[in-house]
């Protein structure tokens, strides 16, 4: 704050009684405003200290460049020189930093329209802008603020920025590295010399943070491989005269390889030391590794965290014995205070019940804080289909140092898929369909689906509802029903008129943190009526099963069937949306209830696993093996509604939906009783999402290889009929649901496939699984 200049009132210490006050030099600020800040009023005595306070007050407002108090007999004359206010603020020439962010930064410094223009602040601001640009390696930037007088003591402040070219790293030079060659070490670094590979990314732009990060990476690379005495002697950053190229030269002093002489734990042990020692990964005699030491410390911390010491700290302290290159490793264990949780608050959604998230928590209020339980809770919440991201923050409670509250912020994604379509398919004719799926019904976490479809081939209606918490411990209940009447079982198959309806009920019992058992039953009534083009296979099925009847000149049959459905599901995926770790395995058995018209059983095993391969590469494998057969003597074959089909986005991409498999007498797919399928996808790291949030981003690109087929019966199974394809694909998470694109190239296309024209290289589908 500028010290106010000397006031001009003569030095009479006792001053004078102010009769009235006159203001001079005011241009736009209202008198009432100035008077409201002036501590003196008519009738007060204006002595030395009162004058000084008045001047200080007026300066404090920041409105004035200059304040002079003088006396005219008994009138206090307040002379002020108003600082101009900024009527218009323009920023031009900035691409790297958006205008809005710049305005925000300036507003915080008090530089905005309507504010008073303060030279020093503008100067400070200019320096800050230079610093921000230099931090991004843009050394060619030029910032020139200019002030243009307007009327009535107002100014237009224009800040012109010439960003200039960004300096790119031309060369990284490592000196003194013998143990590991340049390419291996540079592989550890994020900064890269400019080249075609850095075209899309900004890895060839120098920045101090990346540099410090890289030095750290080099240090840990060496320290993880025994070089306990590794040091970085010097780092030089240099720039070319035209400021377009930058050069990094790092001089390392490797030192020798060290072996661990002995390992010891010291500190307090609320959990017996022997138990903690089990978590130490380092043994005497082996080569020293910083990574192993840190991992051991982490494991010990987690063990302490599990019994309430959430803020425990374990520090590995290596002592170097330089003569014989040995390291004595001591772990200093500081459990800190046992921490308790007072309250858990959820925020981020105003449409979902608090309990929908609270019931997923593994951490309780009024209990010791356990990091393991917190991580488990985050994963469980992220496995809800409507949750995008969960952040848990510990908030200390004043007055009790050993308790914290937990603020759980849940970032939700839209709850489901909604699709209304009216289309005209060559095959299906005019068709309308409505499909609504909501996986957070009423904000209670229930899942509901309604699908209505009607076209030339017939009508199809399906409804189901799942409550994942029918009981408080997570027993889920699913109720579903369907009705369809079609003249064709599936597109591309031989015509047969079917009419069927059914209901199913299923319960899911969790039997461990990751496993659950599903038990349920379903009933179904189906009618099949032959038509002119019905194939022999359908004809045989109709004739040999169920209660025969005739409608017009066509024979048909009616069959009732019921199934008992059992399944075991193990799911360790870490998220519902774009998981990047874990496996979901289902082993299911459906057996028909004997004594009705159809007796069969169907067994299926399918597994989807996600394998992280390091720096954001993920391998996804999705395999299925299913087989079913009739039992007893009056059912000859698996009913059509339980036969398997192959081809299409969920089995072998590159082939049209459900076109692979055994053909009937009309040379149309009839489905088989044995199916095998494997989809393998190599998911690429997300180059474009700058924040590197590959998983949380809205899209995933992958290259894939599919193989699979469907056989009529178990003894027909042979690998030479397997159809495979390779290609590239992308999943895009849209507000309407998950869109899946794939461009496939079948590798072993048969001539008959080509003749039947079932190759379909570009395919899109909505609503697939993640």
């Amino acid at each position: 704050q500028v010290e106010p200049p000397e006031s001009l009132i003569e030095e009479s210490p006792d001053g004078f009684v102010v009769e009235n006050i006159r203001l001079e030099g005011l241009q736009r600020i209202a008198e009432s405003t100035v008077l409201s800040y002036l501590p003196l009023e008519p009738g007060d005595r204006a002595d030395q200290s009162a004058i000084r306070d008045a001047i200080r007050e007026l300066y404090a407002t920041g409105f004035f460049d200059n304040v002079i108090l003088s006396r005219d007999e008994n009138t206090l004359v307040v002379g002020v020189e108003e600082r101009p206010t900024i009527a218009r603020l323009e920023i031009s020439g900035n691409q790297q930093i958006e205008t809005e962010m710049l305005r925000q930064a300036m507003r915080e410094q008090g530089v905005a329209e309507g504010r008073v223009l303060n030279e020093q602040v503008v100067e400070l601001l200019e320096q800050e802008l230079y610093q921000t640009y230099y931090a991004q390696g843009r050394y060619g930037v030029e910032i020139s603020p200019s002030v243009r007088e307007l009327d009535a003591n107002q100014v237009a402040l224009n800040i012109e920025i010439k960003e200039g070219r960004v300096a790119r790293i031309r060369q990284i030079n490592l000196v003194g590295n013998e143990a590991f060659d340049d390419s291996r070490l540079k592989g550890q670094m994020e900064l890269r010399p400019a080249g075609w590979r850095t075209l899309m990314s900004s890895r060839d732009q120098y920045s101090r943070e990346k540099m410090t990060g890289d030095l750290e990476a080099l240090r840990s690379y060496y320290m993880d491989r025994g070089y306990a005495d590794f040091g970085i002697d010097s780092v030089q950053v240099s720039i070319s005269p035209d400021r377009r190229d930058m050069y990094l030269s790092i001089h390392v002093d490797e030192g020798e390889v060290y072996t661990v002489s002995d390992v010891e734990l010291i500190g307090e042990f609320p959990v017996p030391a022997e138990q903690l020692e089990a978590f130490v990964q380092v043994q005497a005699g082996e080569t020293y590794s910083l990574a192993k030491a840190n991992r051991s410390a982490e494991f010990i911390e987690q063990r302490l965290g599990a019994s309430g010491y959430a803020h425990a700290e374990v520090r590995p302290m290596p002592e170097l014995d330089r003569e014989n290159q040995e390291v004595a490793l001591t772990f200093v264990v500081d459990p800190g205070q046992r921490i308790y949780v007072r309250e858990i608050r959820f925020s981020g959604s105003d449409t979902t019940d608090d309990q929908v998230y609270r019931r997923e928590m593994r951490q309780f209020e009024g209990a010791p804080l356990a990091n393991v339980d917190l991580d488990r809770s985050r994963v469980r919440m992220q496995r809800l289909p409507f949750v995008q991201q969960v952040n848990i923050e510990e908030v200390p409670v004043e007055g009790s140092p050993d308790t914290v509250d937990l603020d759980v912020n849940v970032e939700e994604r839209n709850f489901g898929q909604f699709q209304v379509g009216v289309g005209y398919g060559g095959f299906t004719g005019l068709s309308a369909n409505v499909s609504v799926q909501n996986n957070n019904l009423f904000g209670l976490g229930h899942q509901g689906q309604v699908q209505v479809q009607s076209n030339q081939l017939g009508e199809f209606v399906e409804l189901n509802h799942t409550d994942p918490y029918a009981t408080r411990n997570g027993v889920s209940r699913t109720i579903g029903g369907f009705y369809n009447s079609q003249s064709l079982f599936a597109v591309g198959q031989s015509p047969v008129s079917t009419k069927s309806a059914g209901m199913n009920l299923r319960f899911g019992f969790p039997i461990s943190e990751y496993d659950s058992i599903r038990v349920g039953g379903s009933v179904r009534r189906s009618e099949f009526i032959q038509q002119s083009g019905t194939s022999d296979e359908y004809r045989n099925f109709i004739v040999n099963h169920g209660e025969q009847f005739t409608r017009g000149q066509f024979a048909g049959s009616r069959m009732d069937s019921a199934e008992l459905n059992l399944a075991w599901v193990r799911d360790t995926r870490n998220r519902a949306i774009f998981p990047d770790r874990g496996t979901r395995r289902l082993v299911g058995l459906d057996v028909s209830v004997p004594g009705l018209d159809l007796d069969y059983w169907v067994g299926r095993v399918n597994q989807t696993s996600f394998l992280p391969l390091g720096n954001e590469w993920i391998l996804k494998m999705d395999g299925e093996v299913s087989y079913g057969e009739p039992y007893g003597n009056d059912t000859q074959e698996l009913p059509p509604f339980r036969r398997f089909f192959s081809g299409g986005t969920t089995s072998v991409r590159g082939y049209e939906n459900a076109r692979l498999g055994p053909l009937d007498s009309n040379n149309r797919p009839y489905g088989g009783s044995a199916k095998a399928n494997l989809q393998t996808e190599l998911i690429l790291p997300n180059f474009f999402a700058d924040d590197g949030g590959g998983q949380a981003a809205q899209y995933r690109f992958f290259v894939f290889a599919d193989t699979g087929y469907v056989w009529d019966d178990i003894d027909d199974v042979s690998t030479d009929e397997l159809r495979s394809s390779v290609g590239v694909g992308a999943n895009w998470l849209t507000p309407m649901g998950l869109l899946r694109f794939s461009l496939a190239r079948p590798i072993n296309v048969r001539d008959e496939d080509r003749e039947r024209g079932i190759v379909d290289r570009f395919q899109i589908d909505l609503g697939g699984s993640f």
Partner: protein, 86 residues
């Protein structure tokens, strides 16, 4: 046999903690040694309940240890009751 997660509740104290508390200590000394009591007693200001139980369906046991600290009218410990002794 439906799986139910373990439910820990209350202050997990072990022997040294409990032995450290004696009659005659002030409330702030007790709070320093044993921490904040998790089982609130709004209607019984004369006592602090350091109860702990872990209700674990998996191991079919509920590990339990209850300590109650009674204070006289000016907040000095007058009695300590430990469930382990009874």
């Amino acid at each position: 046999c439906v799986y139910r997660q373990d439910i820990p509740q209350g202050n997990y104290l072990d022997d040294e903690d409990i032995e450290a508390v004696e009659v005659g200590m002030t409330q702030s000394q007790v709070r320093f040694l044993l921490g904040t009591p998790m089982l609130k007693t709004p209607f019984h200001g004369d006592r602090w309940l350091y109860h702990y139980y872990l209700d674990s369906r998996r191991e079919h046991r509920s590990h339990r240890r209850d300590l109650t600290v009674f204070f006289d009218e000016n907040g000095v410990v007058r009695e300590i009751r430990d469930s382990a002794d009874s």
